[in-house]
Symmetry: C2
Subunit: 207 residues, 2 copies
DNA sequence: CTAACATTCAAACGATCGTTTGACCCCGGA
DNA sequence: TCCGGGGTCAAACGATCGTTTGAATGTTAG
């Protein structure tokens, strides 16, 4: 009776609210007092459960990225297991898991916006954390792209992957704001969105 | 180089330093005390010359965007004056002025990173300010794209323009960090970069 | 029941935030 | 010469920041 959502623990409520507020106001812009107030928990709960604001931020990433990158690597492995696969297949393996996550979980849509923020922030600590924990995923995909584009020299490939990654991150972050025709369901809308992104990125990589 | 020369007024030094620190730490992350210390001016100078931190942020944008968008509109008009012009021409009119600015002025490179931050921030006040003052430029370009892509319905076009704008903003923001071959000059490097971006974006829009 | 531990709570810590104040300096026009 | 206003300055304002404390409460095992 103490809370409207007693099924969620204090830790989980903090993570969920922090995700939303970090997406909306940035890491420096959202204060722990705003987070704990919205989560209906005591201010000290953050430092008790996570140790510091910095660690809370990392935990917000870890909770989603572990699952997301597992799905991405699985999708990539599935694609590469086939005798033949195209650039579009690899791009789909990268994009679709992010779209799925932004759909199925309530905070998933907020998290892709957090990701876009992390992309824009050039904060050294945060970049190192992401690179240390999830850098191997991006390297695997880069290798897959390199195999499919043998005529492109390495420097040029990295160039384009950088643009593609930035474009995809921004595009996915803005998904929640793009109006859709009312006669198509949410799922088919995202389905179309994924196909558009894949074709767009593939055209850019092959140009 | 001559960062603390007395030939620059207090106002100009504040604007220059604020641009750099906003690019590095964000609008909420860079404090007025950091700005005024780096600019070697008194803390109160910001509120004296600009009124508030919010107004300082707007002035940082205004100083660069006025010139940037003037160049963009001039380039667009020049392109459209020709009897025939392609998608690549219009994209070039949008991209090249930004690249020029990021090259010729010392703080220009920092400013495109500030722009990328503004893109990631969904702050209501900042978006309204930018939309009110520079929205007509984007509308002019959107109309030019629509004329060149008559088979694309409006909804799909806005979709792709959103992706393209995000990709270009991000790519330009990261220009300073992309390694270039040492045997090509800075100018020719940017020249190649512009061509790559244009071809990449055109392929995505036509896909 | 009691002891031991886990969690929550109100309150306060020192640091830093944006902003304001009022004295002070410099300098061109009476 | 004096005056007055634009500019700079150190200092302080109240608010808010992340973090810490110690007591109160809840939970679990012996």
């Amino acid at each position: 009776m103490r809370s409207a959502t007693p099924s969620f623990s204090t830790k989980e409520r903090i993570l969920g609210v922090a995700e939303t507020l970090f997406a909306r106001h940035g890491f420096a812009g959202a204060s722990l007092r705003q987070v704990t107030a919205a989560a209906k928990v005591n201010l000290a709960a953050v430092n008790y459960h996570f140790g510091s604001k910095e660690s809370l931020i990392e935990e917000v990433f870890r909770r989603r990225l572990d699952q997301l990158n597992r799905h991405r690597l699985a999708a990539l492995a599935s694609v590469q297991a086939r005798s033949e696969h195209t650039l579009e297949d690899v791009l789909d393996a990268f994009i679709r898991p992010a779209l799925e996550q932004s759909m199925d979980s309530a905070g998933g849509a907020a998290f892709v916006r957090v990701l876009a923020r992390a992309y824009a922030e050039h904060d050294e600590r945060l970049r190192k954390f992401l690179s240390d924990n999830y850098g191997h995923v991006l390297r695997d995909f880069a290798a897959a792209f390199a195999r499919l584009l043998p005529n492109l020299d390495k420097e040029e490939l990295y160039w384009r992957l950088d643009i593609v990654a930035g474009a995809l991150t921004y595009a996915m972050a803005d998904f929640g704001m793009i109006k859709r025709k009312s006669d198509v369901s949410e799922r088919s809308h995202r389905e179309q969105a994924a196909q558009h992104l894949v074709r767009f990125a593939a055209a850019g990589l092959r140009a």
